[in-house]
Symmetry: C2
Subunit: 664 residues, 2 copies
């Protein structure tokens, strides 16, 4: 409804038009809806008015910071539901504001009635005079030079009162219609309030393939750390695998106090490099580079080589400090001080994390802390980093993130943030609404047909898809899912297909391509696994072409993603019925519906499974009974598919079909 | 979120708590949610905060017009979803405002950490001192007389620093806990905005059985009109059938100009009484009684007799006039005047409704018109009418209804309105949101299993059920569904079961109980039917005990409805799988889940149908495999039911089961 605005311009009795359900809208306009630049923003609204008047509606939009709004017309797309749609362009990254305005076209309403009367053979004496009065009223407020012409039209219309045909012809004179369209006042205009907000982000915030790697573990000599200059050598390879983003765990100087040893042991050996998340030592803190990796110049060079390969760099942003971080001395007030004067380290009794000091966001000096954090981000943005993967954002105030992200994006609208918020759903949503462009998800814990169907349906449906963009990592240094430990290579292939086709953004953690799954029991979560000899605590070297690797699968998946718009948007996911609980089948459709894929995955990595998959023909734009060519983009095979189709998938051979719907 | 309020009381950095998804809420608080008096209003909210603090939350509520709010505590009902719930009483009819406030309990947060440390066998030296400081801070702001006592507790706590057990014992001293609970300041309190609104209406607005009758057609001498005094004789009978509301089409003087004759013919015969919807003649308009029915005293008497039978009277409220209405002479400016000076009658070319003048809500004198309409309502309210069934509300401005209903309910909160809005869904919703307590629906046009499932699911789900209350009439003087014409008595019985069990409010139009279905083609809608010899245009007399009547069915249905809370609320409708497309099966569950019914209806009035109906045991509170007694409330039969049950329904015998779930 547009009560307040309408009140300013119309009396209560004049308010005849209700505008409701304006979309996209997150929580009724409390938060911006997310879109990507280079695409139109489709706007929908329900517009109702009593009676049978002809209405007009426009989207009024403006880029943030601009006072003047632009109008684009809306169309009554679905008259049965009073649904109007229109679109405005999101040409640049940044925020946009929009609303919907609608008003009655008095002349068109009158004309529709006239047409009815004329076709019914009724006289139109009164109607012609009424029409002339409408035109005359427009003339009275028209620019002086147009007035005589419009008055003449009014007179002609009134003069045609005796002849229905002449009245209709005069009334539909293109010159008159043009004038009425252009000059009729919007006397009963209603405008939806509040103004809604869109944040347009880079397309990469919506669609991308991520590769996580520890730069120190990209060397070739066993146990010897690599530098940025050495790690550069892997970038071409990562690009060949089809990735868009290289995500680096923290690259900053690593603390020495209480440094963790191999496999998270409490005491580090002399050569142990420590966890990159224990940030800061005498060489600097969050704005410094760990000397073992090189200098800031080396980092710049790394970024530049990545850029040449069309790879963006995502940096870990972990707001915590080792006891050796420069902030600890310079800003002790930013930490929790205990009554005995010591600084409180992270702990969750009985567990202690003595190598890490959390920051105190309740600090009386929090303003300086907030500014320093922003300065650190600005520093890395200047060094070419446009993506930040934020560690544990749910342990910091949501309002802080809202401020930081809005502030950074106002100056750098190309920058975006990924939330590593492994916590309860409401906090994940709150962080997304507060500004995080992407979020880690529960994907790694969703294995069954039911679990995957429910979760992917939620993520691809409203309201979620307007504010929450999932990033489906298949594993992380902290999460080694049981299915990968027990299911081996077949499971690695199967989970890659799921991640790459259910979410426009997916990622792997290095080692996935060689099916690395040596596991130990998780140090904190009973019954779960973590990586043995985790590179969080030691240098690892790997043979990236080790036998059994799934590099070809990954490269193929990323190529399919690039070639098929259906996989580039979260919307357009429809789960299909299949007769086997192990066969997960879903349709992925591009927004313009011109590209559609049917994906069938055998969720059982141990055994061949078979069944039938139903593809309702209307979903793929076909007539009942019509068959289509199912072109398997993984193998190149072509099948004849129709409404019900036999599928058998042997995980030892091929864990999935990705079938492009091709017309005969 | 509670940004604005929080801003007034906390700095941005202090804002740590987010309150979201507060319910009930219609369009984020734009419209009141509907509830009925005498019941608690359950409130739910999602409350999140970074970290692991202990929170408190309250519902703050007040009756409209009261400045002071009352607080009731909320409970963390579902920690995994951060879902808090609480309830406040709706003791009277009228509007209520509420919101949710939440804050951090600093002491409880500290205590939880202390407990963890003590159980882990850690020392608590610093923690005890921190706890003492929290208590000391509370003391500093406590009432002077309490201060020494609280300070002593703080000292005791600080003094116990050396002994974890002693510290914990001191910290959990009930006296200290009481003081902390009572006196801790809500330093970081967040309050949800905007304040949300509830309208509490009489229980009859939610749950009731309606009987529509033309008082003039309640006589016993064929063709002779009955008066109110004569129509009174039927009230006991209607009460025996179990109805709660008697709805009367307009009872006002009927126009003479262009009066319609039998079967909607253009020319009335000398004895034709005219359509009651052509309101007004020399005897008066909307505040007068048609002399053929009697006087206003007779009407008062009719209302009084109804009251003695516990029957409420609903009056038709049709804002239109016959050309003979007193308003036409007294307020010609309230009508559309054509250029030739005549008043425009209703028309939809080529159709003309010359017996009716619509009111012009665009009239420059609309203020006087609005006031006069309100006066008319007040008149009937004084004469004991508390329910108005509004004819064609969608042809008048929604804002007018919003004003009228809010204004009337402010003075008469026991009054409610039923919208006869047979129009597109958005206008039906808009009228409900604007204040109509109930609405006519598309029920009469929903016949198949799919149609009924989808429609009833929509009505019983959010957001619909918070603002839209359906009134399922099985037919109306204007709507004689095809299924009743072709399906005969079995269809009448079947459709009654559907209406009476799918919607807490249902109704029949007199003649339904004797399966009246003599039809002619609809005068305006090709392919549809209307009643032959419609009593809209002529006097009808009927034998209410005619052979084949379904009075016993209707009385039984209404009795079952009264005895089973499951049928008294729109929520708690779950459709069940059945193996036959003709068998519609659904579960109806009371809000407290103590009353549950399984309804199975054979939608085919022509043939016996059989199949199996699945009742997932968890839905009826049973263990897998557990059987229950299905007590058929229509026949008294008892069956043994469990997860999958054979059903055969012969429409000639019994069109439906209404099975009460009874434990063994």
């Amino acid at each position: 409804m547009a009560r307040a605005t309408a009140a300013a311009r119309t009396t209560r009795a004049q308010r005849r038009i209700l505008i409701e359900n304006v979309r996209p809208s997150v929580d009724g306009g409390r938060h911006p809806a997310k879109r990507t630049s280079g695409q139109p923003c489709e706007v929908a609204a329900t517009i109702v008015r009593d009676g049978h008047a002809t209405l007009h509606a426009v989207v009024r939009w403006r880029a943030a910071g601009r006072a003047a709004a632009t109008e684009v017309p809306m169309t009554l797309t679905n008259p049965g539901l009073d649904l109007w749609t229109g679109a405005f362009p999101l040409e640049q990254n940044g925020r946009y504001h929009f609303t919907v305005e609608a008003w009655t076209d008095v002349y068109a309403t009158w004309l529709a009635d006239l047409r009815k009367r004329v076709s019914a053979g009724l006289e139109v004496r009164s109607e012609a005079i009424e029409g002339a009065a409408i035109v005359e009223a427009v003339a009275a407020k028209a620019p002086a030079r147009e007035r005589p012409g419009i008055r003449a039209m009014a007179a002609r219309l009134g003069g045609a009162a005796g002849s229905p045909a002449a009245a209709l012809e005069t009334a539909t004179d293109p010159a008159l219609l043009e004038v009425m369209n252009r000059l009729q006042p919007r006397t009963d205009a209603a405008r939806f309030e509040p103004e809604l907000c869109i944040v347009a982000e880079p397309p990469l915030a919506r669609f991308g393939a991520w590769y996580e790697m520890f730069p120190r573990s990209q060397g070739t000599r066993p146990g010897v750390a690599s530098t940025f200059r050495e790690a550069e050598a892997r970038l071409a390879d990562i690009r060949d695998l089809g990735f868009d983003v290289v995500y680096l765990p923290p690259i900053h100087p690593i603390g020495r106090t209480a440094r963790k040893g191999r496999n998270n042991s409490l005491v580090a050996g002399p050569g142990d490099p420590g966890s990159p998340w224990a940030i800061g030592n005498e060489h600097g803190g969050h704005d410094a580079v760990e000397p073992a990796l090189g200098t800031i110049r080396d980092f710049d060079h790394f970024v530049e080589i990545a850029r040449r390969h069309n790879l963006a760099i995502a940096l870990d942003f972990a707001l915590q400090c080792s006891p050796d971080h420069p902030w600890v001395k310079k800003h002790p007030e930013w930490f929790y001080r205990r009554p005995d004067g010591t600084i409180r380290y992270a702990e969750n009794p009985p567990k202690k994390y003595e190598d890490i000091y959390p920051l105190n966001f309740d600090s009386p000096d929090h303003e300086a802390l907030w500014k320093e954090i922003r300065r650190v981000l600005e520093f890395w943005i200047e060094h070419g980093v446009k993506i930040f993967r934020v560690d544990n954002p749910h342990t910091k105030p949501v309002e802080f993130w809202r401020w930081l992200i809005e502030d950074i994006q106002a100056a750098h609208p190309e920058v975006f943030f990924l939330a590593e918020a492994f916590t309860r759903p409401p906090m994940m949503s709150a962080l997304a609404k507060a500004g995080f462009s992407q979020s880690y998800t529960y994907f790694t814990w969703r294995n069954t047909k039911k679990e995957l169907t429910e979760y992917a349906t939620e993520l691809s449906s409203l309201p979620c898809r307007d504010f929450f963009r999932p990033n489906f990592f298949t594993s992380t240094p902290d999460i080694l899912p049981e299915i990968l430990v027990t299911g081996g290579r077949a499971a690695f292939r199967m989970r890659a297909v799921l991640a790459a086709t259910l979410s426009p953004t997916w990622g792997i953690y290095s080692g996935y391509e060689i099916c690395e799954n040596a596991a130990i029991s998780h140090h904190a979560v009973p019954g779960e696994y973590e990586y043995a000899d985790s590179e969080k605590y030691q240098i690892r070297t790997r043979d990236w072409n080790a036998p059994g690797n799934i590099r070809a699968d990954i490269a193929r998946l990323n190529a399919i993603r690039r070639e098929n718009e259906a996989l580039q948007f979260i919307s357009g996911t429809v789960f299909l019925e299949s007769t086997s609980d192990a066969l997960l089948a879903y349709l992925r459709i591009a927004p313009d519906r011109r590209n559609a894929l049917v994906v069938v995955v055998n969720l059982d990595p141990h055994e061949a499974r078979e069944g039938r998959v139903a593809v309702p023909p209307e979903l793929v734009g076909l007539a009942p009974g019509e068959s289509w060519i199912a072109h398997d983009l993984l193998t190149g095979a072509r099948y004849d598919w129709s409404e019900l189709n036999y599928v058998r998938l042997d995980p030892a051979v091929q864990p999935a079909h990705i079938l492009k719907v091709e017309r005969r």
